[in-house]
Symmetry: C2
Subunit: 142 residues, 2 copies
DNA sequence: TATATTTAAATTGTGCACAATTTAATTTTA
DNA sequence: TAAAATTAAATTGTGCACAATTTAAATATA
């Protein structure tokens, strides 16, 4: 085949573009709620992992969040500076840095509990559509 | 109601997170194809608008791409430096800056034509799922 | 028609994101 | 077990992304 769809390069025919735009819009809508917690969006998803795991090394956190050390190292340092986590080298393997949630980090969870419900109200999908979207997105990620 | 779902703050229960992660992964997959065209992803979606419209002002472009002048001004300057567009002040309204595609910008379309098909091969959705995802994402954007 | 308001870009400043490289520790293997 | 290869974080450098402010032009209104 040697001809191409002439509309293939139209913005409205891209799947990537609404994905890119919707992602940014949703993160933007989080901002006022997260500002109140003094968290950025990236810090918020890192805190979700830490509220669940209590302790995790940089590589494993990166695998969960699809982020590398270039993004995580400065972010974790800033979270440490705010007292939300501690960063310690693993005794068993000095290459590994472990982030551990602090009491202050645990306590932030109380204030964060209201965020998901507030956000749900900002997204114009019903629960069936949300589940459908969730499933399709994870299909891309796997 | 005064109790909350205890799992509401788990990463795996968020819709925002796969949206955020999938968007980044898809943009990352574009990189090798766009590097070959000397375009960033943001420049690529701007070029899609310009291939279609030939000429557009910054505000209208921002409305199409969900981007503001803080992002567009430096990006359009860099596209101008590469010879893909010209930037001119509107005669009718000196506040308005119009980006217009050049011959070189038009010619880049030939090389770009293969990109959408290559990208489609990178996304693990069939055409029905892709349409479903497209529809859900635009529901969020409206 | 002066003055106030609104509007469009540009500028400034902060924080991601990520590729590429570096550093240091650990593991392999010759 | 010494050298090579691998691995985990950190570092470096570039380019978004966006809030907030500034500048300059156009429009509204007193």
């Amino acid at each position: 085949m040697n001809s191409f769809n002439p509309d293939a390069l139209k913005l409205e025919n891209q799947l990537c573009f609404p994905l890119y735009a919707a992602s940014k819009e949703v993160v933007r809508k989080y901002r006022p709620y997260l500002d109140a917690l003094d968290l950025t969006y990236t810090q918020y998803i890192a805190m979700m992992v830490l509220w669940e795991e209590k302790s995790i090394n940089v590589k494993a956190l990166g695998a969960r969040l699809f982020l590398d050390s270039g993004t995580l190292t400065p972010m974790l340092k800033s979270m440490e500076a705010k007292g939300l986590i501690t960063r310690t080298r693993s005794k068993a393997d000095e290459r590994v840095v472990v982030a551990t949630i602090t009491q202050k980090g645990e306590e932030l969870k109380k204030a964060a509990k209201a965020v998901p419900l507030k956000m749900a109200g900002c997204i114009s999908l019903n629960s069936e559509e949300a589940l459908q979207l969730y499933t399709l997105l994870y299909k891309i990620l796997e």
